[in-house]
């Protein structure tokens, strides 16, 4: 390489080139359905399940807990405050017992020991703690029949970005992209919905949203976190950001 060529390489490294935008979410939204394949058939089946579940839950006429909402999240201090009259979210149909779905009830200390990773916690201790399938640790605030908030932490599950951006949005779920501590996050509201996460082998895992309510979902340090409750996006983000 001669002097002029070296000068050009040096020049190239000093050119004013704007930072590349994060294109993956937009590109994924613009993709046409993939060609028929086994994975597509599986996904189509799951998408169909979403629509069916959405229709079923909508038919059950879940009361709108937001109408009774009091400000039980103290946003400024980023911690949960309990007030006299708790807003509650009705869990999934009573026959699907919430506690059974969450897993084995344990103490917070047991959960910390058995989780296999450092749990993120809020200032307020959870009212109940469960160890569920796939190593998920659930914090329940409130009572199983009157839940204020669920926090789930699952190791080795990834967020199925295309599923959320395309299939859920297509099934009437309102999807907002946001960030939690710099990590891509999704706030799902609107129609009740299923969640699809991806396990460590790349296999889709069907995960029911336990409360059929708003969900904030994100990945952080190789783990998937989600908050479920009757939350606005801002409230969910404040809670998420106060987990430590």
């Amino acid at each position: 390489m001669n002097e002029l060529e070296r000068a050009l390489v040096a020049l190239g490294r000093e050119l004013a080139v704007p930072d590349a935008p994060a294109l993956a979410p937009r590109v994924l939204q613009a993709l046409e359905p993939p060609r028929p394949s086994t994975s597509r058939r599986v996904r189509l089946g799951l998408a169909l399940a979403v629509v069916l579940v959405a229709a079923l839950l909508a038919a059950l006429a879940i009361p709108d807990a937001r109408s009774a909402l009091l400000r039980f999240f103290h946003i400024g201090a980023a911690r949960i405050e309990v007030v006299d009259e708790l807003p509650t979210v009705v869990p999934e149909p009573p026959e699907l017992d919430l506690e059974t779905a969450l897993g084995e009830r344990v103490s917070l200390a047991q959960a910390r020991r058995r989780a296999g990773f450092d749990l993120l916690e809020l200032d307020e201790r959870p009212d109940r703690v469960y160890l569920g399938p796939r190593g998920t640790v659930w914090f329940l605030y409130g009572r199983p029949d009157a839940v204020r908030l669920l926090v789930a932490q699952t190791p080795q599950l990834r967020v199925d970005e295309p599923f959320i951006l395309k299939k859920l949005a297509g099934a009437g779920v309102h999807v907002e992209s946001t960030r939690v501590r710099g990590n891509p996050a999704y706030f799902l509201s609107g129609e009740p919905h299923e969640l699809i996460l991806i396990d460590e082998h790349g296999i889709p895992v069907q995960e029911t949203a336990r409360l059929a309510q708003d969900v904030l979902l994100w990945e952080e340090d190789g783990r998937t976190y989600r908050l479920e409750g009757d939350l606005t996006l801002d409230e969910a983000l404040d809670i998420a950001n106060s987990l430590r």
Binding site: L4, E5, A7, L8, V9, A10, L11, G12, E14, L15, A16, V17, P18, A20, P21, A22, L23, A24, R26, V27, L28, A30, L31, E32, P34, R35, P36, S37, S39, R40, R158, D160, E161, P162, I198, G202
Partner: protein
């Protein structure tokens, strides 16, 4: 033993079979170089963004034609470069490239004197002005070879010409650039 991330070839093969997650990983891995390529070819951030996004979408559609085992990066950059060229043709004249502000330019090792910096800065500006005066064909080949630091083979793929053509075009472009700098 630490798990190594999947290779481009593995991701491209999974994407070719319809795996959108694998494709999303490729988008994240290559959006910076793809956008830089489009920007250097169009001179416009808005055009570059559009060309890059459209390029990725077209790459997804074209994946069934992607030859297993081939290099993904030049294949993708060619699609993005085509999009950038389309926008350049349909748009107005390409804007001139500029330099980053002096404060942004990272300097490693010994700190040069202000006089030396001023001289280098002046030389860089003159060289860039000369590059900006070249026609599109010369500028494209120089951008690929020196600003994107692509190999001759990759440049050939990106510009859609033979390797020998890259060699001869580069030599002629450098000759014209030298003439511009000296004029």
């Amino acid at each position: 033993m630490e798990d190594r991330p999947p290779s481009d070839a593995a991701l491209a093969e999974r994407a070719r079979r319809g795996d959108e997650h694998a494709f999303a990983e490729l988008v994240r891995a290559y959006q910076a170089i793809a956008f830089r390529t489009a920007y250097l070819l169009t001179g416009s951030a808005a055009d570059a963004e559009e060309a890059t996004q459209t390029g990725f979408v077209k790459a997804w559609k074209a994946l069934p034609r992607f030859r297993p085992g081939a290099e993904f990066r030049p294949w993708l950059l060619r699609i993005v470069a085509n999009e950038a060229h389309n926008r350049r043709r349909s748009g107005k004249r390409r804007e001139a490239l500029g330099l980053r502000a002096a404060a942004e330019v990272a300097s490693g090792g010994a700190v040069p004197s202000p006089e030396a910096l001023a001289l280098e800065d002046e030389q860089r500006r003159e060289l860039l002005a000369a590059v900006n005066r070249l026609d599109d064909r010369d500028r494209d080949v120089l951008a690929c070879r020196y600003f994107l630091e692509l190999s001759e083979e990759e440049t050939a793929e990106v510009l859609g010409v033979r390797r020998g053509t890259v060699k001869s075009r580069t030599a002629r472009a450098l000759e014209r650039l030298r003439g511009e700098v000296e004029s």
